[in-house]
């Protein structure tokens, strides 16, 4: 028993520095944000009680409402694209040899580790109306009529940003689902193969159901990450044209540091946390279902 006490004391001592850090910069700010969301404050002087007024102003303001809509659209659309494409890559690579598939995986994963800000800048070049790759390519192949001022037109700006988000987030879904598919024993496919099932039938009725927990995990990871939209949108459009692509973090930063309304910004933060939590629970529910042991 002496050993148990000694290890306990050491364990607590090991834990304390990390816990202090987390308390100071995450836990305390989290509760403070909640308090702040019920106060009127411009960052100077002393805060005054505001009741639910911050929440009301956030919910009534068309700009913040649009920001929430955009955040949800951006997160869900890019997650959907990333999961579908990631799964497709995983399945296609599964049919190639180890070595060849490894090279494809390495390359297709690489966007996932590039800094988002640089990815944003890269695609500003890509979508640039005069010298950009996309328009130049369209001119080259004689489809000049399809050219757009991609990032400044109402119809195309958000779609382009979501395209880039998918470009970046597909790789990690591919990695996760590929590893799971590889873990499914070959023997499970064999009898269906003898019965003449095609590869796609095998995937649909054997492969995918078996790796469902991993698909769920990859979807939730991606969704959580895709709600962090600041870097990409700030570098690509700064929320423009006319706030059309503004998401919550973009508007929130403006609300606090340009309009000096800390209370409203804090209320946005609280609502945003609720939206993210509900989204994740929703996905869990949608993808729920029996899991199989193998």
């Amino acid at each position: 028993m002496k050993i148990k006490q000694r290890t306990m004391r050491t364990g607590v001592a090991y834990l304390i520095p990390a816990v202090l850090f987390v308390l100071l910069f995450s836990v305390i700010p989290f509760f403070w944000n909640f308090v702040l969301s019920f106060q009127k404050w411009d960052g100077f002087g002393s805060p005054a009680a505001a009741g639910f007024r911050n929440y009301l102003s956030v919910l009534q303001n068309p700009l913040t409402r649009r920001a929430f809509g955009n955040s949800v659209l951006y997160a869900f659309a890019s997650t959907f694209g990333g999961v579908v494409l990631g799964l497709l890559f995983a399945v296609l690579i599964l049919r190639l040899s180890q070595k060849e598939g490894g090279i494809f995986r390495l390359i297709l994963y690489s966007p996932a580790m590039l800094p988002t800000a640089v990815v944003g800048i890269m695609f500003v070049f890509f979508f640039n109306p005069e010298m950009g790759l996309l328009n130049s390519f369209l001119r080259l192949v004689g489809l000049g009529g399809l050219q757009h001022i991609w990032l400044q037109e109402r119809g195309t700006a958000m779609a382009c940003i979501i395209f880039v988000a998918i470009w970046k987030c597909t790789g990690s879904v591919m990695m996760l689902t590929f590893a799971a598919l590889q873990g499914v024993p070959r023997s499970l496919y064999e009898s269906s193969y003898l019965d003449g099932a095609s590869f796609w039938q095998q995937m649909k009725s054997i492969g995918f159901p078996l790796i469902k927990p991993m698909i769920l995990l990859a979807t939730i990871n991606t969704l959580g990450a895709q709600f962090k939209s600041y870097d990409l949108i700030f570098t690509m459009t700064q929320g423009g044209p006319a706030d059309l692509t503004a998401t919550v973090p973009i508007v929130m930063k403006k609300t606090a540091f340009i309009y000096g309304s800390f209370g409203s910004a804090a209320a946005m933060g609280v609502l945003f946390t609720v939206v993210v939590a509900i989204s994740i629970l929703l996905i869990r529910r949608l993808l729920r279902g029996e899991t199989y042991e193998y």
């Binding site: 050993i3 290890t7 050491t10 364990g11 607590v12 090991y14 834990l15 520095p17 990390a18 816990v19 850090f21 100071l24 910069f25 700010p29 989290f30 403070w32 702040l36 960052g43 890559f89 296609l92 049919r95 190639l96 060849e100 995986r105 390359i107 297709l108 690489s110 580790m113 800094p115 988002t116 800000a117 640089v118 800048i121 890269m122 500003v124 070049f125 890509f126 010298m131 790759l133 470009w167 996760l176 590893a179 799971a180 873990g183 496919y189 590869f199 709600f227 870097d231 700030f234 570098t235 919550v248 929130m252 930063k253 606090a256 910004a265 946005m268 933060g269 945003f272 946390t273 993210v276």
Partner: protein, 275 residues
């Protein structure tokens, strides 16, 4: 899998199209970074006639990308180092040292790692300015360390749980002190966790922008992502230097990636896949 030859070629061609879509924008940046502006406007597709390294010199010195690079190296270097130490200690405590309520703490840590940074942005800013750190290295380093901890503690804890208790007990009976057990026996075993955590911490903060822009936008001190966006807004259509600046951020990441990709994949899937 059973794939006939024609099928394999269809797959190869589909995948190659996506490879092109992934690599070309990166290749374009590297290519353009070596072209003079007039050469670029003449034809965006051609290879540069003579490599215009002056773009790099311009980005590094005049646009101060060199200074920002150094700042980022210091910020991320200290962050990675401190995160590794703190999370290894905490993860070991939670996994193997009878900390009371360890399971509840782990759940709390897991939830914290899911928390969107937007929900703590404002108070964290106020806190840092109350501490008098605004615009200094500490204003980014301390929060980065703190925000990275939940996930890295979680990774370490999972790895430490695979270390058999018998080893620790044997060492204790032989009279080894707890610090000795941690440093000389346990840490070497979980080397893969250390590499994984280091990679994810590095990649996570090397490009971070939201917090850095809140803390440092009014300061002379700027991390690379901030510096390059500022440069982009001032340089406008000066594509050569701008691409050179982007390449300066990209190249360390690409090199880092090629050296560590084995661990990266293991870390991504570690513990989540049945062998």
């Amino acid at each position: 899998m059973n794939t006939n030859r024609a099928g394999a070629w269809v797959i190869r061609i589909v995948l190659l199209l996506f490879v092109l879509l992934v690599l070309y924008p990166i290749f374009f940046v590297l290519l353009t970074s070596l072209k003079t502006t007039s050469e670029f406007y003449k034809n965006i597709w051609l290879l540069p006639g003579r490599a215009a390294w002056s773009n790099y010199a311009y980005a590094w010195n005049v646009a101060k990308i060199g200074d920002y690079f150094l700042t980022s190296v210091i910020v991320v270097g200290i962050t990675v180092f401190a995160t590794l130490i703190l999370s290894a200690l905490a993860g070991y405590g939670l996994a193997r040292l009878n900390v009371p309520g360890a399971d509840a703490i782990v759940i709390g840590i897991f939830l914290l790692s899911m928390l969107p940074s937007e929900s703590i942005l404002m108070p964290a800013y106020l806190l840092v300015s109350k501490l008098g750190f605004t615009g200094t290295y500490a204003s980014v380093i301390l929060p980065y360390i703190s925000w990275g901890l939940p996930l890295s503690i979680y990774i370490y804890r999972n790895f430490f749980q695979t270390v058999p208790n018998e080893i620790l007990e044997a060492a204790r009976i032989d009279g080894c002190r707890e610090t000795g057990i941690f440093l000389r026996i346990v840490l070497p075993i979980v080397r893969p966790a250390t590499v994984t955590t280091a990679i994810f911490t590095f990649l996570g903060w090397w490009g971070e922008m939201l917090w850095a822009s809140v803390e440092l936008s009014a300061s002379k001190l700027k991390t690379l992502p901030l510096g390059i966006t500022a440069f982009m807004q001032s340089a406008g259509t000066d594509w050569g230097p701008l691409c050179a600046a982007s390449a300066i951020i990209l190249v360390p990441v690409i090199v880092f990636f090629l050296f560590t990709q084995k661990y990266l994949v293991a870390g991504l899937t570690g513990g989540a896949v049945k062998g």
